[in-house]
């Protein structure tokens, strides 16, 4: 009975996997192969490359900020530890380039003033509706948490920036829509944002498309997780601490349990007595029994 059941279950599982695997393998075919690049912030020791973040900020400022907001980022973040680490003066200078609406003043009027460190990044459009109208019906998403809001994260953004291609011959595109193999549906309303030499880096880094895409992606990853470095550092320390603690607790546990086990030996002694009685009755030497 049991053997039959075993065989049945085995063949059931084998049949199941054989019938499922090709199908799921087929559906995995749709899985996107992102362009590959090495990220300094990957892995448990990952940190940001300051220079790359500073360049990435420059790309955001000169290329993206016309349409995309980063509304949850403050200017002060630019000089904070674990980020691009601009000096406070540099961050102040960056903030002062922006115009921020404030108010109401004592006359009840709203007014414009230059930005301060404590301000959030200025937005290109006051609301989603304006930005939708200004961009032909598709609003440019806020980029504060973009790297966490897209499957694939950094790889996705990097690939998307480099994924513009000529559409296949039979692919229909409306005006103002572009072909990008990494966009869902392969259609995107944003025209190719970066090209070689679109920015000029102050530190003289080459401005290839790949370099620009990499820098701005790193900046966006930091923007969506400004505490990533302290997260990694604290994580590493915590795991080390736990490993030591676990070892100590395990040894203490073994020590404590050995008390109970030694008590239990009494019971084993009782069994030994039974054994002895049995062997004595048989007239054998107890020693040979072992």
């Amino acid at each position: 009975m049991l053997v039959h059941l075993n065989n049945f279950l085995k063949s059931f599982f084998i049949f199941f996997f054989i019938s499922i695997l090709p199908y799921s393998a087929f559906s995995e075919e749709k899985k996107i192969n992102f362009f590959e690049t090495n990220w300094s912030f990957d892995g448990i020791f990952g940190t940001f490359d300051r220079a790359s973040l500073q360049r990435g900020y420059q790309v955001y400022q000169e290329v993206c900020s016309g349409c995309h907001s980063v509304q949850y980022l403050s200017y002060r973040n630019l000089s904070e530890k674990g980020g691009p680490e601009f000096s406070v003066e540099e961050a102040k200078a960056i903030a002062s380039q922006s115009e921020i609406e404030d108010g109401p003043n004592s006359d009840g009027e709203m007014f414009m003033r230059t930005g301060r460190l404590s301000d959030k990044f200025a937005k290109p459009y006051p609301n989603i509706e304006t930005s939708t109208t200004a961009n032909g019906g598709a609003y440019p998403p806020d980029m504060s948490v973009l790297a966490k809001a897209r499957a694939g994260g950094a790889d996705y953004i990097y690939s998307l920036l480099l994924g513009y291609e000529e559409p296949p011959a039979d692919f229909e595109l409306d005006d103002g829509v572009y072909y990008n193999k990494f966009m869902a549906g392969k259609k995107i309303k944003m025209s190719e944002p970066i090209s070689e030499g679109i920015v000029e880096y102050l530190d003289g880094t080459e401005t290839t498309k790949e370099q620009i895409a990499k820098d701005v992606t790193a900046f966006l990853v930091w923007a969506s997780e400004p505490h990533l470095e302290s997260q990694h550092k604290m994580g590493f320390k915590t795991i080390i601490y736990l490993i030591i603690l676990i070892t100590l607790v395990y040894m203490s546990k073994q020590k404590v349990w050995s008390r109970f086990n030694s008590k239990n030996e009494e019971k084993e002694e009782a069994f030994d007595k039974v054994e002895k009685v049995v062997t004595e009755y048989e007239g054998e030497d107890p020693k040979t029994f072992k």
Partner: protein
């Protein structure tokens, strides 16, 4: 539960304890006899208590900074992540804590299923446990709505819409749940209120769960009753405390690994997009721990039918102590049940996988088969197995399998056999 009545040492303690026996309670909790053969699957009760306390403490801090308003909820989460001191840590512990809570509770439930811990005399423990599980799902679901991301909003829309399937009153019930004609600010506010309240209800049930456990005492891997106050049991403190602590720390390591190095893998990226009632995500999926039920919901072709089957999938577990007619608790001695147990585990995982897939083609066919099997397991297999399964012989005491290891019993038996000589066959 100890044989002798506990009397505190000092006069003051005696005075207090005779008026409010907290010291007696504390003594009971320490000396509570636990079977010495409990394995590491039994450490998840303690782990779950830890999870609940962690969720409440981190939740308390988050509630100090969170704003339950459709215009500010998403923003306030980002405020917590960026500007609150260690806010990112608190939020990631809370968000991943929910997943870890469910991971632990699923292990805890399947442990019960394997070792028959739901059987007499522990039916009440089992049912209270299921009530806790249902409240956990409600709490987690409402908690997932609070960040007001796309999945929050659309998840809430899908789940609350289920109630509209109720005949006649359905529409009114949904409107009543929403506090309006769609998921909106009133919905968010009441979900926040309930999300804060339900965990305290869970604490109450956990106390009852443990109380009910301390009446018959723990089941154990062998599944036979232990003799209390014998050396088959050991006091909870320090033995089980140390073992639970060790297991808890291992669990916490996994937990914190997620928190520090992969805090978002268990969530859906769409929930970092602020809720937009005008844009429906291409796939609306709940959190992973609700996926098996989501798969059952979608496997049934009618909406009302789907809702009924989904709730039935949970409530059928309440009847488990009576559906499983076998007197033998532990699957160790039930060769056929043991196989079907693993098939059930596989089916539930498969349902979880299917819940994340679109309900079409082979996925839909498989979810129907898996749903059917799920109910067949409880409604047909268990009652039939209890009647016809030939179980392995049970040991006389939980000590037998332990003491048998050095072969002492075998030796005794062997010598007895030798003594009997030719009549050895009759000895069996």
């Amino acid at each position: 539960m100890s044989a002798e009545k506990y009397i505190p040492k000092s006069k003051i303690a005696q005075w207090f304890d005779s008026r409010l026996p907290l010291l007696t309670l504390s003594h009971h909790l320490q000396s509570y006899p636990t079977p010495k053969n409990l394995n590491y699957w039994w450490t998840f009760g303690g782990i779950l208590t830890f999870c609940l306390i962690t969720q409440i403490i981190t939740g308390l801090v988050l509630a100090m900074h969170y704003v339950a308003h459709v215009d500010h909820a998403f923003e306030s989460i980002e405020h917590i992540m960026r500007d609150v001191n260690y806010g990112w840590l608190i939020r990631y512990v809370h968000a991943n804590g929910a997943s870890m809570f469910f991971l632990a509770v699923y292990i805890h439930i399947f442990r019960s299923l394997f070792y028959g811990s739901y059987k007499s005399p522990r039916e009440v423990i089992w049912i209270i446990g299921l009530l806790i599980y249902i409240l956990m799902m409600a709490t987690a679901f409402m908690g997932y709505v609070l960040p007001w991301g796309q999945m929050s909003f659309w998840g809430a829309t899908v789940i609350t819409n289920l109630f509209s399937a109720i005949p006649f009153a359905g529409e009114s019930i949904t409107t009543w749940l929403w506090g309006g004609y769609s998921v909106d600010n009133p919905t968010l506010n009441r979900f926040y209120s309930l999300h804060y309240f339900l965990p305290f209800l869970i604490i109450g049930l956990v106390v009852l769960h443990i109380w009910a456990l301390h009446v018959p005492g723990n089941n154990n891997p062998v599944g036979i009753d232990v003799k209390k106050n014998s050396n088959e049991t050991m006091p909870f403190h320090p033995y089980m405390v140390m073992k639970d602590l060790f297991a808890l720390l291992l669990f916490v390591t996994v937990f914190l690994w997620f928190v520090f190095f992969a805090p978002n893998v268990l969530g859906h990226p769409d929930n970092y997009i602020e809720a937009n009632p005008l844009v429906t995500p291409s796939h609306i999926v709940p959190e992973w721990y609700l996926l098996p039920f989501y798969a059952i919901l979608r496997a049934i072709p009618s909406k009302l039918g789907g809702v009924i089957f989904m709730f039935a999938a949970i409530f059928i577990l309440m009847l488990l102590p009576w559906l499983d007619t076998s007197k033998v608790r532990s699957a160790t001695f039930r060769p056929i049940y043991k196989k079907f147990f693993w098939v059930l585990v596989f089916t539930v995982i498969l349902l979880g996988y299917l819940g994340a897939k679109p309900p079409e083609g082979i996925y839909l066919i498989l979810s129907r088969l898996a749903t059917a099997y799920y109910f067949i397991h409880f409604l047909i297999l268990l009652p039939v197995l209890g009647r016809y399964e030939k179980t392995d012989p049970l040991p006389m005491s939980i000590s037998d399998p332990v003491l048998d290891k050095p072969g002492i019993l075998d030796k005794v038996k062997k010598s007895a056999l030798e003594y009997e000589g030719e009549n050895a066959g009759s000895f069996k």
